[in-house]
């Protein structure tokens, strides 16, 4: 089954017709949005599933590579320093961050019948933060699955389903609840690709809100980045704007690796204008929020906004900080960060975390 995934020629729409189904963004003239070939087993079944497949290759915006016929998931739809990334070439539409997440999820579920969602109250209730609102009515109860309160098992179930070829998006109602599923995330999600000698891939997305909210209490205000940092095989990203929320959600779903998408409880109602056309944010790239000369400030998620406020004060005082939203927590975008540090020679890290067990302690030592 898996062997067919990348090389099978499926008797479906050819690339020329499929590209008209999506609007594409041409960044460097050599990029084209492409779609992953879907496995023959699902597509050939019962004849009621239509699959669109195209031959396409991605090249990363900043690290241009020769186009290949295989899908490379590190696509970039925008230049790295486009901090006003939401303007794009067209007016776009305004929405809140949680709606952007939903849009990304909806688009991916429409595109690929293997994508499904599972979590507590994601279906009929619409999600505790409304990220999955309306999806159950659209896609049915099997694809948007309401699970009982059993994080360990439904995370395991999602991982097992991913082993058969599905692409589940597992929602933890609060990231802290996923601590119950730590064994599944660490051993079965992160390590399975390695211990099986590459036989199985686990294309899950584990997402949920975490971080400090308003009086949510200690147990509901946790950050799990430092706990998950040491799990091999896992990719971690944190979204901070509506634009990158949608882009990262889509990229995470398309990635063959297990991705943990960290959202923040207090950022769900951020309003932003995002492009109408389809786009993806590269999973492994950091975002240059404000280029500068004097100091590199590394941050992610909600702290980005605090840092930008502080940057205003700094600028008034005559300093020129460079603010980078690292977005990719594992693996780091050493290219962007390294380039910046080489320029400024000063780093300030701003992170929301427990006083002991900060994510950076792990990552800076491992990425020296």
């Amino acid at each position: 089954m898996a062997a067919a995934m990348h090389t099978a020629t499926l008797p479906f729409f050819s690339s020329s017709s499929s590209s008209s189904a999506y609007k594409t963004i041409n960044v460097s003239g050599r990029l084209r949005l492409g779609l992953a070939p879907l496995p023959g087993s699902l597509a050939g079944r019962k004849g009621s599933i239509f699959v669109i497949r195209s031959e396409a290759g991605f090249a990363s915006g900043s690290n241009a590579r020769a186009r290949s016929s295989k899908l490379i998931t590190n696509a970039v739809a925008t230049k790295p320093d486009a901090s006003a990334s939401s303007t794009g070439s067209k007016p776009g539409h305004e929405l809140l961050l949680f709606e952007a997440l939903r849009e990304g999820l909806d688009e991916e579920m429409a595109r690929d019948p293997r994508v499904c969602v599972m979590g507590e109250d994601v279906g009929h209730y619409g999600g505790s933060y409304k990220v999955t609102k309306g999806l159950a009515t659209k896609y049915g109860d099997l694809r948007v699955l309401d699970t009982p309160i059993a994080e360990n098992s439904f995370t395991g179930m999602g991982i097992g389903a991913a082993m058969t070829g599905l692409r589940p998006v597992i929602e933890g109602m609060n990231m802290g609840f996923l601590l119950l599923a730590f064994n599944q995330i660490s051993n079965n999600c992160g390590m399975l690709h390695y211990t099986s000698g590459g036989q199985f891939t686990i294309p899950v997305v584990i997402r949920g809100p975490g971080g400090v909210g308003r009086q949510l209490g200690a147990e509901h205000s946790q950050r799990l980045e430092s706990y998950f940092q040491s799990i091999p095989g896992l990719q971690m990203v944190a979204c901070s704007t509506a634009y990158n929320a949608k882009g990262l959600m889509k990229a995470a779903i398309r990635s063959e690796n297990p991705v943990v998408l960290f959202e923040h409880v207090l950022l769900y109602n951020l309003k932003e204008r995002i492009p109408d056309e389809e786009y993806i944010c590269c999973l492994e790239e950091a975002e240059m929020v404000r280029p500068g000369e004097h100091v590199t400030i590394l941050t992610y998620s909600r702290m980005r906004y605090h840092v930008m406020q502080a940057a205003k004060t700094l600028v008034n005082k005559g300093y020129d900080p460079e603010v980078i939203d690292i977005r990719s927590l594992k693996p780091f975008d050493l290219y962007t960060i390294g380039k910046s540090i080489k320029k400024t020679h000063r780093v300030l890290i701003v992170e929301e975390c427990m006083r002991t067990g900060w994510h950076w302690g792990q990552s800076t030592s491992s990425n020296h």
Partner: protein, 381 residues
């Protein structure tokens, strides 16, 4: 050989012994390909059921199947004993959990299902890998950590996988494979495959919370999963009555039906598994409790005699050994003579020895393999 016998004078003792060998080996080879004659066997004990009607005790088989069972189980037995020797010779390191005594479960299950059905188990996985079509060389190479092992030498004893045969491993943390198995069944249901998943776990793992969580979800959504408890009565060093308030594992599903099966009888296992598959595809999950036994300790670091008596072990070996049971059946139905069966065993022994020699020649993985297969298509390799 037939020609040679005829050229000898009819009174020659050589000719008569040759023709006797000829007759018997013709008997054996003809029987082992005979799948037309129907033999009816009865399972050793009837099934005990919980919330369902048990399947019948009588089951039809053919000589080919009987002889095939004998062969497969003997290969498994031989491989596990060989692994024991290799471990003591320090060619296999780490944990090595041996399956000898439990072969009937692996063989009977495989006989009842297709290669499109999925099997997932915990760390006592060597023989399930063989049953799913894995070959001896890749199994032994994986045990010794060589690069041609089934997981490229990166998994080890507890991480055997065979994706093309729907064998999902091979897991170190007991109980964690149960939600995975339910997930595989979810995937099968989602893709409308009409296949089922057999999720194996032990009596030790039967007390894990995730089993009950997964059971609840499987029953809620009618997932085609069969939960098989390989009850060998000892969770490492703890006897089942010391760990479980209710050792009736087939009843633990409460609202999920269950069946207790004599796991040392390959026909009982086969009958139960085909019954269970049919049930799961129609009605959702079912629990099978296989009453089985392991001769070795929990793993190679456990002598296996501190928590049970040697008499108990030899007693089970004499009364309930799965291979002996099949041998008796073969002899009673006159499908082969006992010397022929011994020849088969000798042949298997040689096969396993050859596989060991072959596996020993395979080199260890390249050190660069430490960092491959961590991510799929990563930039920062």
């Amino acid at each position: 050989m037939a020609m040679a016998a005829h050229r000898l004078p009819s009174s020659s003792p050589l000719r008569s012994s040759l023709s006797r060998i000829l007759r018997f080996s013709r008997l054996f080879s003809s029987q082992s390909s005979d799948d037309q004659t129907v033999l009816t066997v009865e399972t050793s004990v009837p099934f005990t059921a919980h919330k369902c009607d048990p399947p019948p005790r009588t089951i039809d088989t053919t000589p080919k199947e009987l002889l095939g069972f004998f062969r497969e189980m003997s290969v498994m037995r031989r491989m596990e004993i060989a692994a024991d020797t290799l471990y003591k010779a320090k060619l296999i390191r780490g944990f090595c959990h041996l399956y000898d005594g439990q072969e009937a479960v692996a063989v009977g299950m495989e006989a009842a299902i297709t290669r499109r059905d999925a099997i997932i188990t915990a760390y006592r996985d060597h023989c399930i890998y063989l049953a799913r079509g894995g070959d001896l060389v890749s199994a032994l190479a994986e045990l010794m950590g060589r690069r041609a092992g089934c997981s490229k030498g990166k998994g080890g004893s507890m991480h055997f996988y065979k994706k093309d045969a729907q064998f999902y491993g091979g897991h170190g943390i007991v109980g964690a494979q149960i939600p995975l198995g339910c997930g595989i069944a979810f995937g099968q249901k989602y893709s409308k495959d009409e296949t089922a998943t057999f999720t194996l776990y032990g009596d030790g793992a039967a007390n894990q919370g995730q089993l009950f969580e997964a059971l609840n979800m499987a029953a809620l959504w009618d997932l085609p999963v069969i939960l098989v408890c390989e009850n060998n009565h000892y969770g490492m060093g703890t006897a089942e009555w010391r760990a479980s308030k209710s050792p009736a594992y087939y009843k633990r599903g409460d609202y999920v039906p269950g069946l207790k099966v004599n796991g040392m009888d390959v026909f009982a296992v086969k009958q139960a598994c085909s019954f269970a598959k049919e049930h799961a595809l129609k009605n959702g999950p079912i629990i099978l409790e296989m009453d089985t036994y392991r001769y070795h300790g929990h793993s190679m670091s456990d002598p296996g005699s501190t928590y049970r008596t040697r008499d108990e072990i030899t007693g089970v070996r004499q009364e309930r050994d799965p291979i002996e049971r099949i041998r008796k059946l073969i002899l009673s139905h006159e499908l082969a003579t006992s010397s022929e069966l011994k020849d088969v065993e000798k042949q298997i022994r040689k096969e396993v020895d050859d596989a060991i020699a072959q596996a020993k020649e395979i080199p260890m993985p390249d050190p660069s393999e430490l960092f491959t297969n961590v991510y799929v298509k990563v930039i920062w390799a």
